[in-house]
């Protein structure tokens, strides 16, 4: 798989804003960003209210995903180009989520909203209207998604990549310090995990590093590429960014994202936890 198969440049995006069969979608946790200005023609996907079940802690089910994409005017054959703020965290999460439900024709805008803005490209507050479709999703591809029991079994057997900041990894912080938010009961990391913060996979303009640079990064961190890999963070969005780097850019076959991540693992009764830096 080449970079062009999974990423588009901002230049490509600008040249294809009106291309039939290409749908741009902005995915953010802060949906006011979209209201303040978005790429012309882009639809909005709300990470919290549209991709999560509003009662259980889980994703919307297959029927829910079909209804969502139909409402957004996304068809099964459309190329969906996802972008967002925070260096594409939530766009990468949505990318992984689209793959999970079998939508293969999806790419990320390299650098996301940040690169687009730094380039000085146009943002608009005009509404986007797309005709409703009848989207059909597939069953979730669980080759891409790890659950808690598999994560516990992976200790000392598979690669575990903790992509949070060093202070979250060591157990000093449960979440980025400035956010009053739901956190795990205990701090630390899953034993045998290596700590490669998500930010190391990105350049300062938000674009992904090259496959060669990424391969070197994870090799240096001690990742054994002959083994299966599970990435996690706090709630699964930063680890989607790393999942994208490992699975889509380096091209490792068996990489899962553990979306339960530390908010689940750090609250489980009886599981092993390590603290401290490595």
């Amino acid at each position: 798989m080449s970079r062009e198969d999974v990423l588009v440049t901002t230049q490509w995006a600008e040249e294809n804003l009106n291309t039939s069969g290409v749908v741009f979608a902005e995915v953010d946790e802060d949906t006011t960003a979209y209201d303040g200005g978005h790429i012309r023609g882009a639809v909005r996907i709300d990470w919290k209210t549209e991709l999560q079940d509003q009662v259980r802690r889980d994703f919307v089910d297959k029927a829910g995903f079909e209804a969502l994409l139909s409402d957004k005017g996304i068809g099964n054959d459309d190329l969906v180009v996802l972008y967002g703020g925070n260096n594409n965290w939530f766009a990468a999460y949505a990318y992984w989520y689209f793959k999970l439900y079998g939508h293969d024709n999806v790419k990320l805008l390299d650098g996301g909203r940040k690169k687009w803005e730094l380039d000085g490209r146009e943002l608009t507050t005009d509404d986007t209207k797309r005709e409703r479709t009848s989207y059909k999703a597939k069953e979730q591809d669980l080759q891409l998604r790890a659950f808690r029991d598999e994560v516990v079994d992976a200790i000392n057997t598979k690669n575990l990549v903790d992509v949070r900041s060093p202070d979250e990894f060591s157990g000093k912080l449960l979440a980025p310090a400035h956010l009053p938010q739901e956190a795990a009961q205990r701090g630390g990391h899953i034993p045998s995990a290596v700590n490669v913060p998500w930010s190391k996979a990105a350049n300062e303009d938000g674009t992904f590093k090259s496959a060669e640079e990424l391969t070197e990064l994870y090799r240096e961190a001690g990742l054994d590429t002959s083994k299966s890999t599970i990435a996690y963070c706090r709630i699964g969005e930063r680890s989607s960014h790393t999942w994208f780097a490992l699975h889509e850019l380096i091209g490792l076959d068996d990489v899962k994202n553990y979306d339960g991540s530390w908010t689940e693992y750090g609250s489980l009764v009886g599981v092993p936890i390590e603290t401290g830096a490595k």
Partner: protein
């Protein structure tokens, strides 16, 4: 459901604001025309490693919750980049201005 990991809306920070024991690195991004809004401001540690990023408010304000130590704040904007060093001795507000050119 969990909240996200993103930064809260950026607002101005007074030099004497009570930080509840936190080490706050805060300031304003400016250009030759005055305050510059919307720059991406990155907090880098003493080794130059990325520690956090926020988008400055329309008035150019940014704020990080850091730890004591030496930091660099680096602003990226479509009109140019800039950076500044700041030493945070301990809890309280440590102000730093970034000029973008």
């Amino acid at each position: 459901m969990s909240d996200g990991c993103g930064a809260p809306q950026q607002t101005a920070t007074a030099a004497d604001e009570d930080t509840n024991g936190q080490v706050v690195v805060a300031g304003t991004v400016t250009s030759s025309d005055g305050p510059l809004g919307g720059a991406y401001v990155r907090l880098l540690n003493a080794d130059g490693e990325f520690a956090g990023e926020v988008q400055a408010s329309p008035q150019g304000d940014f704020r990080f919750y850091a730890a004591a130590g030496d930091w660099t704040v680096r602003a990226l904007h479509r009109t140019g980049n800039g950076e500044a060093a700041v030493t945070a001795g301990g809890p309280g507000v440590h102000q730093v201005a970034i000029a973008v050119s």
